[in-house]
Symmetry: C2
Subunit: 356 residues, 2 copies
Amino acid sequence: MTNKLYNLVIVGYGGMGSYHAKLLKENQTINVIGTFDILEERRTAALADGYKVYESYEAVLSDQDVDLVLIATPNDVHKDIAIKALNANKHVICEKPVTIYSEDLKEIMKVAEVTQRKFVVHQNRRWDKDFLTIKKIYDETIIGKVFHIESRVQGANGIPGDWRHLKAPGGGMLLDWGVHLLDQLLFMVDSKITSVYANLSYVLGDEVDDGFQTIITFENGSTALIEVGTTNFIQLPRWYVKGTAGTAVIDDWSIAGKIVTQNFGVDIEAPKPIQAGQGLTKTMAPPSESAVSTSDLPEVAPTMESFYDNVVSVIEGKAKPIVKNTEVLRVLQLIETIFKAAERNEVIKDFDSYNR
Amino acid sequence: MTNKLYNLVIVGYGGMGSYHAKLLKENQTINVIGTFDILEERRTAALADGYKVYESYEAVLSDQDVDLVLIATPNDVHKDIAIKALNANKHVICEKPVTIYSEDLKEIMKVAEVTQRKFVVHQNRRWDKDFLTIKKIYDETIIGKVFHIESRVQGANGIPGDWRHLKAPGGGMLLDWGVHLLDQLLFMVDSKITSVYANLSYVLGDEVDDGFQTIITFENGSTALIEVGTTNFIQLPRWYVKGTAGTAVIDDWSIAGKIVTQNFGVDIEAPKPIQAGQGLTKTMAPPSESAVSTSDLPEVAPTMESFYDNVVSVIEGKAKPIVKNTEVLRVLQLIETIFKAAERNEVIKDFDSYNR
């Protein structure tokens, strides 16, 4: 590791800003030296938490001691704050969704290129244990070749009563939670998107979507159903994944779940028809005991640097970013396509420029 | 009830034909007097079960003692058998899917009209207890106005190794199980279909679909996700239904499940943020205890005549059919639309002629 200490200022000291402050207390290389927020109550909170409070954003930018700016404001002002920081020779960590529109991210990426500063988006859920477990199952073909992925988060609390329920600052569930689930999906599935269907929900009467279902098809033949809900009083499993040799389920963030796989190469007793409602069914009968095996989810050990350590490694030229801006851009373009698909109620094809 | 005994011949003595024979033993009004099947082994089975075996279909048609013909053959020959029976002055009970193409059903309906004989399709799953439970929740707004319905059957046994895995006789899961789930949906939701998206699965390498997911939107603003799978080693709940005041789940045909509803008009403690993976979330945190109530699924008592009794009532002019041919036709047109939507990978709109 490095000996240099990187001084960071948190811009936007709300829920996420203060969460970063707490997490960074554990970090040996990044040092939170101050905060900036336009709201008086947030300044007071930052002071109470023991942080210096800058009087203006200009004061942050002109402070030569500041190496890094962390942006945790509403989404519509990310771009302006980021570009100013890059031009002031600071590196930038930015909360998700990086911007509301992909064109804005492209502008930021250009400025980062010109100023030779690093701009890294906090797609923290690439490190979620549930996701890493599914990714391991996927990568190691533990249930065979995965051909269908369902990834859901379902809450019952509606949209939070902050800017996230307003359109102008970039609220709504597709931008808030959708960005995580889509980022995870594209980080895992190495294939071009061939089509997108989407259905946004406005049942709460907010001006932004309170959830969505989207079905994404890939060139490699696999499909994904991604869903966010805020009006779900009962939760379906966080992950439901089908492979050519079995199925994997993760129920929730506690990583409860299981894998059921097909037993190949043994003499298998045919399933017995069951009475199901007013009919008999062999098709939907449980497989015979000899036909399947149930096992625990695989254990995952951390193989990636932590997000913050990776930012430092990137700044020092020692590693590539785990969250690449081209990947973040692709997810944002997918989100734009989902909005368009839902608005038009059409399947949208041939939009993904991805070609690894 | 009537005093007349109706004599019925079962055409096609396979799984479903012999199942009808067994069920009709309990029926006081319909009497199975014989069977016809082109396969020697099925004739032998029928004889062993104590039924007369006709030597030809013509012999069935010319037998003046036969009032009713029940068709339980592969789907591609339903039309021919049905029209011959109607023209021979017999009433007809037909297995589902009634025909492969809607034009064929229209032909049958015309002949039934001309001959003044009754033609009734065995959509037996309108009587399934799980469906009747959901229909009660829907009709009585037990979870508020229902705006999203998910109806799934998921097996792990692939497609049965009979004609159902072949294209010509009308195999595949959309026609086999899809017809039930779609029939239930349209029997429950009294609204015009505005659009259909669909994705058929061919992962087993059969010439017919081994499952599908379709998303249907209705004029009344509600949506439905209907799914059939035969490569699912773990099962998601049979029903997952969202209303404006809560969520209902039925796990399986044993009618295990629950309802969780929102408590209105009480002071509700805000949900506490939870650590979920690498982040905090209030949106996806469980609601506070005071915010929701959990209850059992409602009990359902039979309110409809049984399928067979209804057929007799219809023949005697005492009742309207519970399974109306116009409804069966609409479901078949929906299935054709699902095939088209999947093949083109497009959302199809403005096809539903329904206008109650």
